[in-house]
Symmetry: C2
Subunit: 89 residues, 2 copies
Amino acid sequence: MTKLTIVFKALADPTRRKILELLKKKSMPAGAIAEHFKITPPSLTHHFNLLKQADLISQERQGQQIIYSLNLSVMEEMIDDYFKLFKKR
Amino acid sequence: MTKLTIVFKALADPTRRKILELLKKKSMPAGAIAEHFKITPPSLTHHFNLLKQADLISQERQGQQIIYSLNLSVMEEMIDDYFKLFKKR
DNA sequence: TTAATATTTAGATACTTACCTAAATATCTA
DNA sequence: TAGATATTTAGGTAAGTATCTAAATATTAA
């Protein structure tokens, strides 16, 4: 699977897009993210894994918590490299 | 399913992205598109349907052929409305 | 109107995915 | 070290998806 396919698959789910939007405001631990959803922690971990695979987020342990952060650069690269093809201006 | 989810799902497949890239060069009938792939016509029709559902392409019959065209505006809207959120400049 | 061409529809199958429950791991605190 | 907290891993299931073959539809040409 190409990197682009992995990224689009990651974005093709509303839960994962909402996670990205939360992380755009600020980095936060899994538990704080979980408060915004009604799915179980294992399901959220599944989504974190796909977002990590797409390199859209990073994680860092801080004590008992795992802090997730958005990797803005991957989004930007995608816009620059792929969508520019289809952009007028 | 939201419109954005439908569009990202449509883009999350290499065959469909290649169809879009072909149509970006010029509109063409299903058969001409098919020459670039090794999958069967019904499989291609399946991909056309998903791209149409995402409003990324349009079709128009011309005699025996169905001519497909790219809807650039949908791509542009998506870049403007969604990705701008994540874009620095 | 019959045959040929272009494409889609119908239906089946193997694979993938999003979700769950139960159990495991990692860290902190008493 | 034992217990509590935060998160992940393992394993299962129902629903979705990409593909195929066979049949149907639409159009053109003989």
